[in-house]
Amino acid sequence: MLAWTIYISFLSAAILMFLPGDNPRPARTLALLAALAGLACAVMGAIDCHQHAGAGALTDVANAPWIAELGIRYHLAADGISLVLVLLTGIAAVAGVLFSWNVENSAREFFALYLALIGGVYGVFLSVDLFLLFVFYEVAIIPKYFLIVIWGSTRREYGAMKLALYSFVGSAMVLVGLIAAYVVAGTKTFDLAELAKVSFPPAFQNWAFIVVFVGFAILAGLWPFHTWAPTGHVAAPTAASMLLAGVVMKLGAYGALRVAMILFPIGLHTWQNTIAVLAVVGIVYGALVALVQQDFKFVIGYSSVSHMGFVLLGLMTLTQIGLSGAVLQMFSHGIIAGLLFAVVGRMVYDRTHTRDLDVLQPMNLNRVLPFAAVTFVIGAAASMGLPGFSGFIAELQILVGAWQSFPVFGVLAAVGILVGIAFTLRVLLKAFFAEDKVEAPHLTPCPRISLPERLGAVLLLATTITIGLCPGLLLDFITPALNSPLMQPLWKAGMR
């Protein structure tokens, strides 16, 4: 069932490419159906795994030889952690299509590339053969580039090129590490579960870990390799920035956890503190930079760097609670960042054609676009980490983990939360509630918020509130997965 998430996406992308005519309507309808079908497969697959195999253990989805000479297999499998991220991808994909309903310019190609990206992302989250994982990882880079270059806005060539270059450097590092691991292990397999059983020599682990970890973490926005993120997010069209922040950054964090940390626990131990420092710097730095941005979308872009810092910090705490928080934060940030980008890029920018906060200020948007204002208020509350929303339980767990491992970083991360509250409040007030700052607010007439936008916003809001109130829905997947045999190396590395 879960494998169909990948097939449906790629198949629909192929069909879209061959669809005759330039009419956007059939293209977007097909894309929506494909995204919904993918989400349905993800949900059913998750329920299935939960009922039959228990959510913890790795459950095979597909397993067939591929390049037998090298021991490479087409091996897909899911455990609790990948299921959570597959669900996230499904939800983000549907929302992204809904917020791209107004794409008229070569809609066919747009949605084809969009679905190819989604397919690649599903593939990464479901692969256990590391070579296969790498292939999907690369597949996801290409559509990203074109989505930004063709449909993007502000400095799109620059943003797209920067994103592509960073991604390629990262994946080159990952590839070097993987091949080295393959050779050193000498077991002629790329299978994650098999490689995890190998004890690599410590000296090897020390360099392999940092190469693979950083290679992945570039995509997760690890400071100081984060600079692609804000420019890329800003240049991308709405749906692409939703996916970039919502899902693609999670690819990096997922790879860092799944590959680097599991394969090289000794290396992890060596580098744990260093990376935790970088994560905390990312949290605080991202938030401080967001505080002074003039461009609405840059604020959200830097806030993503800050929130992803929490994910990396959670991973580095090496406590069960911190890791569980990190995985939940991946999900939560995916939903919330998607929502905020949708408001900024689709609801506001597509109508006002500006993202300059000083220009938006006199527009009195809470009167002109009340739905967008309410959505952004709730999204902002979720992003601040207020209780009742998914981000709260996630950051709560990360902070508890940080308190146990490095109390000082716990305090610094709490300061980061405060700065986060400050910039979110600032942008909220400037963009939507600044009517008293101008003499006579003129109400710019804008098209009403359309039905697809409303549906997309409701989908994302309902998700973050549901998980905020019943985090057990996802924790039931995450907690057993952290205790599964696959994660044993982490316990050996000193996880508590």
Partner: protein
């Protein structure tokens, strides 16, 4: 179930009201008011069903929420919680009536006020820190927007300052509790108030880490101190209260400020008794400062609303004085437990009574502003001739506020001072000028606004209309009744106080 119903009734009603079409403003307003009355009826029903003889937590609901983190959906009320629920349920309809004439999007205003009510009920009934914190924060968002959208000319500044101050406090408190959780033995880890209290008394918290214990205590203290507020964390308050629209100011002072004091009694006192005792002296000094300095500041104001705002800080200072004075494990004297109980009973009485009096005062100041278009202390004069009933009722509220015996302000302050004078004599003596200053500035209001020659332009000053009289009637009646029969409140408060003291 009844506590859950009570908590979520305003929330659901608020969502429904918010979802009504923009042309259904009046319907939304009426629905919201009806919901607040229903909540009041439920709260009164709760009071009737509360078994006072049994004491302890009642109507308990307990459902696992996030078991891996020790988070439960845990509700219950004792006498203290019940009084606060009753107070909130009473203030909200009063404040809604005071906001009846809001013109700018009344539907949204009323639905936000209902969200706030839900936050209040949740805070006063939750027995698990995370559950409590959820509602603590939930009340902040509507309050922010109520000030931000419907406030006076400086609303942007006032709302942001209010939000940021409170948030800094909240984050400090949250971080402190997480540290507490993370550093406790895995077997004793909990966010449950009662559980934390018994772990604390068994010496299971902090395990001898003095610095950690102090840091956690100060974090929690900061969160609560900003909310009450305790000097020097009060600077957000005058702007927020004076810029807020009348109804919102009533909610802020009548109910929300009690959240902080409640936190002192429910969290700080039971879980951190030793730290409270260690920090008692500086805290007492701050409490005395919270009584005297705002009273002096009120004296210097020329704006009626700011005067009432400062007087509100001053009155909450008495609550803090009582709490800190009683925060002592023992002093060996036989009378000690009695004095402790007196002070704490006084605190709870003062919380309830200040809620009534201060919201009534803000209501009257709002009426003055609405009629005169100004609220300067010196803009009026002689209004008694034009509006005798107005003057009489506002006079009662002013006298209640200065603690005249026979009115509701007196018993609380009397009990607080009765306890505190022997428990913390110096701090109490230091606070006494506060009582004097309060009397002077409250009487000044009465004199400048209502006495003297009536300026010609106010000769047509309308007296209270029938609607206004009915609005204020229940609260005024309670002010008289509770002044004469304070045992109505102490009957509920005393078992809760004894429970608190027993755990020492």
């Amino acid at each position: 179930m009844i506590l859950s119903i009570l908590t979520f009734l305003p929330l659901i009603a608020g969502v429904l009201v918010a979802l009504l079409g923009p042309d259904r403003q009046k319907l939304g307003r009426n629905l919201a008011f009806a919901a607040s009355l229903l909540a009041l009826a439920l709260a009164i029903g709760l009071w009737a069903a509360f078994d006072n003889a049994r004491g302890g937590m009642q109507f308990v609901e307990r459902v696992p929420w996030v078991p891996s983190l020790g988070i439960e959906y845990h509700l219950g009320v004792d006498g203290l919680g019940l009084l606060m629920v009753l107070l909130s349920a009473l203030i909200v309809p009063f404040a809604l009536l005071a906001s009846w004439k809001i013109e700018n999007n009344p539907k949204l205003y009323f639905s936000l006020a209902l969200f706030l009510e839900s936050g209040l009920f949740g805070t006063f009934t939750a027995q698990n820190f995370i559950h409590w914190f959820l509602f603590w924060e939930l009340s902040l968002i509507p309050a922010f927007f109520l000030i931000r959208i419907w406030g006076g000319p400086k609303r942007a500044y006032a709302a942001s300052q209010f939000f940021i101050y409170t948030m800094v406090g909240s984050v400090a408190m949250l971080a402190a509790f997480l540290a507490l959780y993370a550093t406790t033995d895995a077997s004793a880890r909990s966010f449950d108030f009662a559980q934390l209290e018994s772990t604390a008394h068994a010496g299971g918290l902090f395990a001898g880490h003095e610095t950690l214990a102090t840091a956690v205590f100060l974090g929690v203290l900061l969160g609560l101190a900003v909310k009450v507020p305790l000097l020097p964390f009060h600077t957000w308050l005058p702007a927020a209260y004076s810029e807020a629209p009348t109804g919102t100011a009533m909610l802020l002072t009548g109910a929300m400020s009690k959240m902080g004091v409640y936190g002192f009694l429910r969290i700080l006192w039971p879980i951190f008794p030793e730290q409270m005792q260690a920090w008692r002296t500086p805290l007492l000094v701050l409490a005395a400062a919270t009584i005297v300095l705002p009273a002096a500041a009120a004296f210097a104001q020329k704006d009626l609303k700011r005067m009432v705002a400062y007087s509100s800080v001053n009155h909450l200072g008495y609550c803090l004085l009582g709490i800190f004075a009683a925060a002592r494990l023992t002093d060996g004297s036989a009378l000690f437990p009695n004095e402790q109980a007196a002070a704490l009973n006084g605190v709870i009485l003062q919380m309830f009574n200040h809620g009534l009096t201060a919201s009534a005062l803000f209501y009257f100041v709002g009426l003055i502003e609405q009629r005169g278009g100004a609220r300067g202390l010196n803009d009026f004069g002689g209004l008694r001739q034009a509006a005798p009933v107005f003057c009489g009722l506002m006079g009662i509220a002013l006298f209640a506020s200065l603690g005249l015996p026979g009115l509701n302000g007196f018993p609380g302050e009397f009990l607080i001072f009765k306890g505190a004078l022997s428990l913390a004599s110096r701090a109490s003596l230091l606070s006494i000028p506060g009582l004097l200053l309060t009397s002077i500035f409250l009487l000044t209001i009465l004199q400048r606004v209502f006495s003297g020659p009536l300026p010609g332009k106010w000769s047509g000053w309308p007296d209270l209309t029938l609607g206004e009289r009915l609005t204020v009637l229940p609260v005024m009646a309670l002010m008289l009744v509770l002044g004469l029969f304070p045992q109505l409140l102490t009957g509920l408060a005393n078992p809760a106080v004894l429970q608190m003291l027993k755990s020492f």
